[in-house]
Chain length 659, copies 2
């Protein structure tokens, strides 16, 4: 049987140069004489099939990272690709698929969450390369499936590389990382995923790296991705990024030059319209037809692998019924449960069901915080308020309390503060839902705060929320803080006066139910922070500085408020018989408390002699341990992490967090 590449070469061999060039744009037109339907390569599925109508909306990527449960993420990605195929199977019956209705997904985002102010950080798996690599691999494999002949959908690693804000500068920024940071931080998870998951595609970033536009970089694409790593897929540009090469990076002068440069460096597909100039670029001698032919062959190899030209692809029979099926909704709820991180608990949690609860705050009944960004549309969702209402047996009072960021109240506007006080006075406990929302931390165009585009200018929560808290803490009613964000914020003003603090990353459509499951003790929280919770702005360097020194748990100089890996449980665990070899850690995890619970065990390694590095996460596993029982756990130590240490170094093992 011919390989997909052979079939692609045969097909592309019958195309004119103009036809070939046309297929290198994301909105590839039909070539009717060759039986090639129009196809739009742009599709999104960061945490569920996105922008294609109703779909199961799983927790935002940062929340799924907090689960530290790679097998569970693999199940999630399998569910997502099932829904993607089910949708495609219907959409293709219209003769062509429009944007967001195809099979080539521009997920996951495996950039390192270098700085907590980056608005798109919640799209990532956090600040650690190994965690990112593990989760990225689980996601890509779940998306792409395991059929020997066909790929279920294409997954795309993005944004390659050294991409983490500022959003406002992304079209012209030149990131100049040290060689060590480039390899240890910015490229590490990309290589891990290329090696372990064989992703179909990689997306080039907007920015330059060491002077070269990422989508047209000799170093990144030719030397490293295709050369060193032997990547065998295709590269797609970020949207409009080819035009940026001339318009904003000023590396070239025309779209023809930009396009020729990008294709020559290995970027086969253009999101945007710059490649409309490719034909002229060939005429002008800026690029030869053979290079174009090769690029188009890689693109059609992928379409053949996806079964787009075949009748026997097993994924064609996935029925529409799987979209938002009960199994997927349960999976979303479970992933949301496991994404919740308990940061403080003086024993007030779990709540007693018969308590009267005041659910207060601008995020208590907000639908947008369930969704994060790059999201689908749930046909049913559960806000925090709704989840608590459905779980509670006592009276539930709701009060918004304040605007999420607007301080002060206009003359003719509603005054929400006193209602919050009244609600608290009439309740046994306050569940206070503060934080941000996806319009406050997002992408370039999401900017609510002007010059900062989608980025945060500070880790402080808005003053409106601080004022609400100041008023509530004066009352006698105990406060459980639920901080709903996709990133680290400054929690210092709240922690001491709250009886419990829960971190809820944008939790998906089942978010309110999952939170209620945790608040009322149907499940024990088991999430761990995939990012450092800094004390505040004073622990951050310049946002534009890509030097990792002082950033993230690996390179911080000071103590944070809550470290990477932090997360409490309702039960107690003892680690027994911890042993370590070159390649693995083994231990017995004993649940010494009274509640069944999941437990992630994190294995960090530390070389006390290595300057500037506090240690590195080298392995983790998650295990379910019923109350009073024990489980044997084997944690594989990642060879690629071990390789980062000095040869022969005397490595210290730290479990769960670096001390």
């Amino acid at each position: 049987m011919e390989t997909a590449l052979q079939r692609a070469k045969e097909l592309v061999g019958r195309m004119t140069l103009a036809e070939k060039c046309s297929q290198m744009r994301y909105n590839a037109p039909a070539i009717e004489r060759l039986g090639v339907p129009a196809y739009n390569w742009w599709n999104e599925a960061l945490h569920g099939v996105a922008r294609a109508g109703a779909a199961t909306v799983f927790p935002q990527a940062i929340g799924m990272a907090a689960s530290f449960n790679a097998p569970l993420l693999h199940k999630v990605a399998t569910a997502i690709s099932d829904e993607a195929r089910a949708k495609y199977n219907q959409y293709k019956r219209f003769g062509e698929t429009k944007i967001y209705q195809g099979l080539t997904f521009w997920s996951p985002n495996i950039n390192i969450f270098r700085d907590p102010r980056w608005g798109r950080g919640h799209e990532t798996y956090g600040e650690d390369p190994y965690l990112t690599g593990r989760m990225g691999t689980a996601f890509v494999k779940g998306m792409q499936g395991d059929d020997p002949r066909y790929r279920k959908v294409d997954a795309t690693l993005k944004h390659f590389a050294v991409h983490s804000g500022p959003e406002g500068l992304r079209h012209s920024f030149d990131a100049r990382p040290t060689e060590r940071d480039l390899r240890e931080t910015y490229l590490w998870a990309f290589k891990y995923c290329v090696d372990h998951a064989k992703p179909a595609a990689v997306m080039g970033a907007y920015n330059r790296v060491n002077g070269e536009p990422a989508c047209a970089s000799q170093q990144l694409l030719q030397d490293i991705l295709y050369g060193e790593w032997g990547f065998d897929g295709y590269v797609v540009s970020d949207c409009g990024a080819i035009n940026d090469i001339n318009a904003h990076h000023h590396v070239t002068e025309t779209q023809a030059e930009s396009s020729a440069l990008a294709v020559r460096k290995g970027c086969a597909l253009n999101c945007g319209s710059a490649y409309a100039a490719l034909l002229a670029a060939v005429d002008a001698g800026l690029i030869d037809e053979e290079t174009i032919t090769h690029a188009v062959e890689k693109l059609f190899e992928s379409r053949f692998k996806l079964g787009m030209f075949d009748e026997d692809c097993p994924y064609d029979s996935i029925p529409y019924d799987v979209v938002e099926c009960d199994e997927h909704l349960s999976l979303s709820r479970r992933m949301a449960q496991e994404s919740i991180v308990l940061l403080k608990n003086d024993g007030i949690l779990p709540l007693k069901k018969e308590m009267n609860v005041a659910v207060i705050g601008p995020n208590a009944d907000d639908h947008s915080v369930l969704l994060g960004n790059y999201n689908g549309t749930p046909s049913r969702d559960y806000t925090i308020l709704r989840g608590i209402q459905d779980a509670a047996q006592g009276k539930v009072l709701y009060a918004r309390g304040c605007h999420i960021f607007k301080d002060g109240v206009g003359d003719w506007e509603e005054h929400p503060l006193n209602e919050a006080i009244i609600a608290a006075q009439h309740s046994d406990v306050v569940v206070l839902c503060l934080g941000l929302n996806p319009s406050m931390e997002g992408e370039e165009e999401d900017a609510y705060n002007g010059d900062m585009s989608g980025d945060k200018s500070t880790l402080c929560l808005p003053k409106s929320q601080l004022k609400l808290f100041e008023a509530l803490k004066e009352l006698k009613t105990p406060i459980v803080l639920v901080n709903v964000t996709g990133s680290s914020v400054d929690l210092r003003p709240f922690v001491d006066d709250c009886r419990a603090v829960v971190q809820l990353f944008y939790p998906g459509a089942e978010g309110g139910n999952a939170l209620a499951d945790v608040l009322y003790g149907a499940v024990s929280p088991s999430g761990r922070l995939p990012i450092t919770f800094y004390k505040g702005d004073e622990q951050l360097g310049e946002f534009t500085d890509y030097n990792m020194d002082g950033r993230t748990y690996r390179y911080m100089h000071e103590k944070p408020l809550y470290p990477f890996g932090y997360g409490l449980s309702y039960t107690n665990f003892a680690y027994e018989n911890v042993t370590r070899t070159e390649t693995e850690v083994r231990l017995t995890v004993r649940n010494t408390g009274s509640m069944d619970a999941w437990r992630s065990v994190l294995a960090f390694l530390r070389d006390g002699q290595e300057a500037g590095v506090n240690g590195r996460l080298a392995g983790f596993e998650k295990v379910f341990v019923p109350a009073g029982q024990a489980k044997e756990v084997r944690i594989e130590l990642c060879p690629e992490v071990l390789a980062l240490f000095r040869e022969g170094a005397d490595l210290e093992l730290c479990l769960d967090t670096l001390d």
Copy 2:
């Protein structure tokens, strides 16, 4: 015991002129030496306590009018005033009440819905003066309570008078109705409510009437309201309306002149800040202190009647628990059920529960359409989709289908149409939820459509929705159209190709449940149109023309698509033994079908000799008739309506609609 007015005179007698003037602004400051707390007179409760946090949100006024159930509206208003008092009892403990936290409510809006393009029409009880008068009276009495000494809350009739758009011109418009239209249409319900409900207050409109600003009108306030009608309450200006007198009507030159003029004509309270100039106006000799004193006495009479200075007001003990209590939520659901108007049904309704349903359209899962405007915040709501999901036993698929008004889809935007087709293809029936939303028909500042401010430029639904419908009607799946609007729109493009058409006025927080109750036959629909559903724009005159000729069922020249009073049932009724006297109609209403149902019986009178008038609604009653049973109904014919006919005219009785 001293009367409230005596106590007011005594208190006001101790005020300085400056203090008195200060009390005539809506945000009246405290007078500490006299024990008078600050009080903000501005409060809203059009269909539930509004802008004061969580509250039971009942259907929008136009929907409550469609119930033709005045006793039920009285219950609703009683629930609203219970919640208002419960909230006030808490808010006042903070020492002062802020805007929307008091007891003086600027509801109901009893303007006549003269033209379907008026954006605020859904705040009204529709196009008929008698229906408006009956519903307004039920509302005011429910709000104000029946305590012999204390008034529960103040209700305010607005906007006095001849006020129904255009929103964009409201600050400068001069309405010049004929004397007949003034009396028969624009003032009729105001007089009816003043006579029958004794409202605490009347709000002057923004516009001029016959050249005089409504808030400072000799004719409207002095001659008619206080003079002819003997109104004994206070008049408040619409917000900013006093400043309009000089700034936009150019009737005066300064705020001092405007304020003096308004107070002299009888407008005691200023929403806005113009009355800050009152003190200067006295100095300038534009108004004397005695007139001011009298106005302030009327205001404090009201505050005394509300029990604000007493300890023994029975309403002070209404507990916070009543807010959104189960009884009120049930009442909201019932009112929403009764507000639903069935316009067409070929027998497909009620739906079988086991059917697979595609719930499609931009209003299917929209929260804002539940609320209308001047609304509170439900702590739990049910969109159409949610209501159907909770009631259905078959599979429910959701697809938005199109943007509510934006035609076309941007290059990088989601394409929602094909999903709707897929959903329809996978279902037994489509529930198609089209219409408008409160940002598309609203107040001056709600304008989504530029120059039209909150008004509609056309009765046509947006092209985006027509395209969705065109695509769906080609399929085999039967369509039930749910038109969600607060006003009449052009339904002609839809009716023939839909198996059923349901009119859902903005239905409140329980709207989705109530609609599902009707769709699945838990209750039979019993609403009737409180407005004419015109065929389309060609049946409308100039929007700015306040002549009623050709407008509404009373004066139309042509046949509409659905007449005022129209509304189908799931059961059949026979009217037997209809008899009529000078003062009443009696009949037997027999339910000859197989389903218990409510039935409104409307009694119109027509004088075949009267030029230009098709007839007038003169009475209505609503009755519950179990299947197979009959009920005797007595409909009182309103003397004030009868008085509009020629003496000795030979009046014909028409039941339910004018033929």
